[in-house]
């Protein structure tokens, strides 16, 4: 394909992505190096329905001057990245100096917000991604084998976890796992433990969120695999059958290789989506035991009355860096297969 026709095909896509993703990302990166300009404070009397008090306020006249001097804010370099809410380098070196055992180091690092969020995010990504893909694959194989008539309803029912808005999906489920809810009460009955509460212990909260993640995400690999199964050329399948290949051999040597490119795609997308897990943490009120990087960003931007743009920007950049690190194996594989398929690629 010539450069010209390539770029004329790509133009709408590239333009949209440039305007709405690349440009804002650029400004986010710039923002992450700044903190807000200083604020001049003064005491003033504050009166309202409940009486008067001396309270501290911002002196707007002086602050305005400070703002004009530095409209972007105060340059902070990597300061925000290294502060307590992010990589917390000072705190960590202190922890290493003071702690006596490895366990103490780990638990004190886990006490820092960024690392708390990171550990859950990673655990969630590594459990929910492969399990959701497996479930999706099995369901796709099974659905492929059922009579055509019931396929429609079965596909619809299988899609439900993905369709129902996470906001409400997690709300309803959250209620069902209450100790008086249908799932919660059933579990109490099964384990014969009237005090069992999925919401109280950190471990169970993690498990609940991961199970929710698998449930919510599995329909996506299911549909992709299912569509992929439809594209298996009939004659390949037939000739494999004539060669006497058993069902498992056919799956192993025909189906799985055929679905492999889709698997790469799915792994990429699912890992990224799982890495951005956020809504269930809000829906399940899980903040005490599990937070994620996206949740931290949300908390900085919308979770409170004041917006911490710099802090959110730094967490976002760190998130992207983490995702890239996470994706490196998949990216390398893509690169190799890309080079294999396009040996003349370097010629451009």
């Amino acid at each position: 394909m010539t450069h010209r026709s390539f770029f004329s095909f790509m133009l709408p896509s590239l333009l949209a992505m440039f305007l709405f993703i690349v440009l804002p990302t650029g400004s986010i990166i710039v923002q992450s190096f700044y903190t807000e300009h200083g604020k001049a404070l003064s005491l003033a009397e504050n009166c309202g329905p409940f009486g008067c008090e001396q309270t501290t306020h911002i002196d707007l006249a002086i602050t305005e001057e400070l703002r004009e001097e530095a409209p972007l804010g105060k340059f902070n370099g990597l300061g925000t990245y290294l502060d307590r809410a992010h990589l917390a380098v000072d705190e960590i070196s202190k922890i290493f100096e003071e702690s006596e055992s490895a366990g103490e180091v780990v638990s004190r690092i886990y006490n820092l917000p960024f690392y708390k969020a990171l550990s859950f995010t990673i655990a969630y990504t590594f459990f929910a991604t492969p399990l959701a893909m497996m479930v999706g694959f099995l369901v796709a194989m099974a659905v492929n084998n059922i009579p055509k008539k019931i396929k429609g309803p079965v596909i619809f029912l299988s899609l439900l976890p993905y369709i129902v808005t996470p906001l409400i999906g997690s709300l309803t489920l959250f209620w069902m796992i209450n100790s008086n809810g249908i799932i919660g009460a059933t579990l109490q009955f099964i384990f014969n433990d009237p005090d069992l509460s999925l919401k109280a212990s950190p471990v169970l909260t993690w498990v609940t969120l991961i199970v929710y993640g698998i449930w919510h995400m599995a329909p996506f690999p299911f549909v992709v695999y299912y569509a992929g199964l439809q594209t298996i050329p009939q004659d390949t399948m037939e000739s494999a059958m004539i060669d006497g290949a058993s069902k498992w051999e056919r799956i192993r040597y025909v189906v799985i290789p055929h679905l492999f490119p889709l698997t790469t795609f799915l792994a990429l997308v699912l890992m990224m989506d799982n890495f951005r897990i956020f809504e269930p943490i809000v829906g399940f009120s899980a903040e005490a035991n599990a937070t994620s990087l996206s949740w931290s960003i949300y908390n900085d931007l919308n979770g409170q009355v004041d917006k911490l743009y710099g802090s959110a920007a730094s967490t976002s950049v760190l998130t992207v860096i983490c995702v890239v690190i996470l994706l490196i194996p998949v990216l390398l594989r893509t690169w190799r297969s890309f080079k294999q398929k396009n040996p003349d690629g370097s010629a451009s």
Partner: protein
Amino acid sequence: MIIAASPADSKSNKTSVIAFALLAIWLVVAAFPFLWTLWGSFKVEADFFSRQTWENALYGVKTLQATGSAFTMDGYEGAWIDREFWRAFLNTAIVTVSVTAISLVFGTLGGYALSRSRKKYVFWILIAALVFRAMPHITLVSGYLMPFFEMNIWGALPTSIIVLVAINQPFTLWMLHSFFLSIPKDLDESAMVDGCTRFQAFRLAVMPVMWPGVITTGLFSFLLSYNDFAVTSMLLSQDNQTMVPKINSFLGTVQSDGAIMYAVAAVVSATVPLFMLVMFFQRYIVSGLTAGAVKG
């Protein structure tokens, strides 16, 4: 299908029984919470969200007490009539249909080009798209606020539509790119040998066999925009709100009473069009490619 028809397998029956059983379990797991919600949407809040026992939601004890019947339409009435959920419904229809259509047009063009070019930059475009996709939406959206307010385009539907198209573009591109890769290059190359231009080859030779891929991708673009909360809640004014932020406002804050059942009813009603959509398109997902015969 072919697999089940094989006589060579002695294990075939056993495996299909296991497959059926697994599928049945999956269907229960997948659909139960929704069916529970569907059932509960006809109850009052004190039943569906009972702290006493879940059996209340089943039998509607408090619903009976409050309304005189074990089923009530209060949630639906409140959502659709009092709170004008139909407005949000229409807005969602406009947003999702536009986003899907535009995404697919941009995405098929781009995905096709990416799958057919052998240049190195293709790889880097794909990777860049992926990396940018990792940027949390909420960060992007809060970056849009100021410029959109200044340009006076904040709150309008087209603004949200184009933003949703753009931030879902990496996903659409990747997915369609994968589907295009599975279509042999000989197909369009032979069309071009026959005298088609690149665009004609794309439109006349490749697109006809791409429908399953396009429909699957379309389905996900549809669902992504349908389920979006980050963009629509921050960028739409109240009159233009789509269903998800509207439902969220039903959940609202501590002060509204009973509105939580509006949310439940709204969620259930919002699933109906999706049901029809899936039923309608699943045929295309099934029939498309196998018949199209990718024999080159």
